[in-house]
């Protein structure tokens, strides 16, 4: 069944909750509704299931208006899995799932038949809930209860499954369990899924399409990779994020990196000599403390190069896997010249990047503050037969300051970077 929204608007009294939302969900699609709190996600879901009445022709099922269906027909089309469900009354898990058959009974007097029992049993087997069918619903754990609610939705034999933050009260294991199950049903049975999701990364991993709402408007719609872009997220959620790809699933994932207490830039410059990911936390901390940071010399595929890019930090960059060339070294030195101090992170040293330590040495020579950041409890990785260690020792004997940890580094820098 193809679900289409056409200029869907909804108001509670005078306040407009949803404005002119239009999109299509193809049969068998898996769409995630996302957006900040109060953006209208749950209201939109309620309009789709007609719990809230919208205008004619705003919600179409295979081109047919939702308004033309009876209550029971709507219930046979959509099954809803709520955030959670609880009751003070005594029902077994089986009773709850059997309720999914309510829209399918012929009359108010008809009893459950063999085939209803079979549908319920099948739904409970698929959700792995059959083994506690006789237990009381209120005594089940959050994850078990959520699976029972999914089983009820399946027993409804709907064409479209609507989920309202189905994993919000679950632990991480429960979240994946429930989302894997929903994805499996989506793939195997071709059930269309519309899910309100809060967790960006869960949405990116499971949805084909993400619709991003903001203040009741459709801000963006498309594949997770299209919608979950830093600039879109910045404009909707107001936070800075980094978007990466999960190395195993290739799903995009989003890392927030806005510091709540980021200081205003004060113009003091620091250059970071880093590599292999050792520079990421340093560059981030220094930026948050208001320093103008530069970095070098880094190969383009180095993770610190990616970190610097994400933080919009200028880098003296070398081609992938190439040793630092004369040209890049000069660029590195130029950046050092513009800085008051140089930080040397505990990056692994090999023949290709030994020049970074030489750069530190010449910085000392031109009376810049040099700070050697030591990683706690581990030695610098040295691929040049002890030469790196010797050079660092040399730097320290000539006045470079040893600091352990980023907090100490920031304190030392605020004193001017000298001992």
């Amino acid at each position: 069944m193809r679900l289409s929204l056409r200029n869907l608007s909804f108001s509670y009294g005078d306040s407009k909750i949803l404005r002119d939302i239009s999109f299509d969900v193809p049969e068998g699609g898996f769409i995630g509704l996302m957006g900040p709190n109060g953006s209208g996600k749950t209201t939109l879901l309620r309009c789709i299931m007609r719990f809230l009445e919208t205008g004619q022709e705003m919600v179409l099922l295979d081109g047919k208006s939702l308004q033309s269906l009876s209550h029971v027909e709507v219930a046979r089309t959509f099954a809803v899995v709520p955030q959670s469900s609880s009751t003070d009354f005594i029902f077994t898990a089986y009773d709850i799932v059997m309720m999914g058959r309510i829209p399918h009974f012929k009359s108010r007097l008809s009893n459950e038949t063999r085939s209803d029992a079979d549908v319920v049993k099948d739904a409970m087997r698929r959700t792995n809930t059959w083994r506690f069918a006789g237990r009381q619903f209120s005594e089940l754990s959050g994850g078990e209860r959520q699976r029972v609610l999914i089983a009820r939705a399946l027993a409804q034999q709907p064409q479209c499954l609507l989920l309202d933050e189905p994993t919000v009260y679950l632990d991480i294991n429960g979240q994946f369990e429930v989302m894997d199950l929903i994805k499996k049903l989506n793939r195997e049975s071709g059930i269309t899924v519309v899910a309100v999701l809060h967790d960006v990364n869960l949405a990116a991993r499971y949805c084909d399409t993400i619709a991003l709402l903001s203040h009741g408007r459709l801000e963006a719609i498309g594949t997770p990779a299209d919608v979950l872009a830093p600039d879109i997220i910045q404009s909707v959620y107001g936070i800075d994020v980094i978007v990466r790809r999960d190395p195993f699933s290739q799903a995009v994932y989003v890392l927030p990196h806005t510091a709540a207490l980021a200081a205003a830039k004060h113009g003091r410059r620091v250059h970071v000599l880093c590599g292999g990911g050792t520079g990421g936390p340093v560059m981030k901390a220094l930026s948050d403390h208001g320093y103008s940071v530069s970095a070098g010399a880094l190969n383009v595929l180095d993770s610190d190069f990616q970190n610097a890019q994400d933080l919009h930090i200028p880098v003296a960059a070398e081609s992938p896997f190439a040793p630092i060339s004369e040209e890049v070294h000069r660029e590195n030195m130029r950046l050092i010249d513009q800085s008051e101090a140089v930080v040397v992170t505990p990056f692994p040293v090999g023949p290709g990047n030994l020049r970074n330590l030489e750069a530190a040495m010449s910085a000392l020579g031109s009376s810049k503050g040099v700070l050697i950041l030591e990683s706690e409890g581990s030695q610098r990785v040295d691929f040049v037969g002890g030469r790196a260690d010797a050079m660092v020792g040399d730097l320290i004997s000539r006045g470079a300051v040893r600091v352990s940890g980023i907090a100490e580094l920031v304190r030392a820098l605020s004193r001017g970077g000298r001992s």
Binding site: I90, I102, E139
Partner: protein, 357 residues
């Protein structure tokens, strides 16, 4: 193990019919026995005169040869309509209580929660105050009570409804507020109704002494329609217990369902209360008690609670008539005396098992 479970689940519906059959038999038995109990009856305080057991049974089954006609009247004008009325009123209150507990999704709700009792009291006390008892042969107290009860429910319903949507929390609080307000007026009126004082208090505590075949017919119609409607919507009520959104999604119309249940419960309760006064605890405790035995599925619960309510009130009235004979106690005192402690017992037992209902 899974196969055992399956056969258990299949036998649920068989067990349901068994429970209902037992209750129906118990109701008929209780009614027959209760008809034999009482002044002049073969059981109970019959001195100095007593109708023999055989004669009594003959009269009940309408074999009137060789029996004095006033014996027939005692049964057919007094005792039999009274026992039937007790059963019908008990059924009405228990069925209405079940419906209200589902609408409010709260096992502590009762049929009076939307103001029926306070509304009916005001009507009855007003009628009592002006000393009018009959007009054109119609009992005026029940008529007043019935009309004011329905008006009160309508007011509470209007207060709890915003733009066609019934908000149960608002409804609940409106019910409490309106009941308190009307209660104050009733107290005020009672204070000035010195001569009628005893009669009014007796009515307020609930009694079946105003029995008549007219009352039986009125309450019978209300209970028959009411309980059948509540039963037919049993599956929807089950869904409503999980929330309005869930009920909607399972094909019920929650707004229609709530309104229908409120109307049906109000009519049943008002009809009962109009003739008998405010009989407490039946509508609260019977659905509760029955739910512990048969579970929360309304397709079993509604008929089971309705039958149990009838049995319960027939016995409570039998005790009220005979405990301090020849003085008659208000039946509301008996229901509260039995119901209160039993309710507390159930509550504590449920708590220790970690279940509220």
């Amino acid at each position: 193990m899974a196969e055992d479970q399956e056969s258990d689940l299949v036998s649920v519906s068989r067990r349901r019919y068994f429970v209902l059959l037992v209750l129906a038999a118990a109701l008929i038995g209780s009614a027959l026995v209760a008809m034999l109990i009482g002044t002049l009856g073969p059981i109970g305080p019959g001195e100095p005169e007593r109708i023999g057991f055989g004669d009594a049974v003959n009269i009940i089954f309408r074999q009137f040869e060789d029996v004095p006609s006033y014996h027939v009247d005692i049964f057919w004008e007094v005792r039999i309509p009274r026992v039937i009325l007790a059963g019908l009123v008990g059924a009405a209150l228990a069925c209405a209580g079940t419906a209200m507990q589902a609408v409010f999704r709260n096992p502590m709700a009762d049929p009076y929660i939307v103001g029926v009792s306070s509304g009916a009291s005001l009507g009855a006390v007003t009628a009592g105050l002006f000393g009018i008892t009959t007009v054109l042969g119609v009992f005026i107290t029940p008529l007043f009570a019935f009309v004011t009860a329905l008006l009160t429910v309508f007011a509470v319903y209007a207060l709890g409804t915003v733009k066609g949507r019934v908000y149960v929390d608002t409804l609940l609080l409106s019910g409490v507020a309106v009941a308190a307000f009307l209660g104050a007026i009733v107290s005020f009126l009672i204070y000035f109704a010195r001569q009628e004082y005893h009669r009014i208090i007796f009515w307020l505590l609930g009694s079946l002494s105003l029995q008549s075949w007219d009352a039986v017919i009125v309450v019978l119609v209300a209970v028959a329609f009411g309980s059948i409607i509540v039963y037919l919507y049993g599956r929807d009520l089950n869904a409503l217990l999980l929330g309005e959104e869930t009920a909607h999604n399972l094909g019920a119309d929650p707004e229609f369902l709530k309104t229908l249940m409120l109307v049906v419960a109000a009519v049943m309760t008002s009809a009962a209360v109009a003739f008998t006064g405010v009989i407490g605890f039946v509508g609260l405790i019977v659905p509760h008690m029955v739910r512990l035995v048969v579970g929360a599925d309304h397709r079993t619960l509604v008929p089971a609670a309705t039958l149990t309510g009838a049995i319960f009130l027939i016995w409570a009235d039998a005790i009220a008539r005979t405990a301090l004979a020849p003085t008659e106690l208000p039946v509301g005192i008996i229901t509260a005396l039995c119901g209160g402690p039993f309710f507390l017992y159930l509550l504590r037992r449920g708590r220790t098992k970690g279940v509220i209902s």
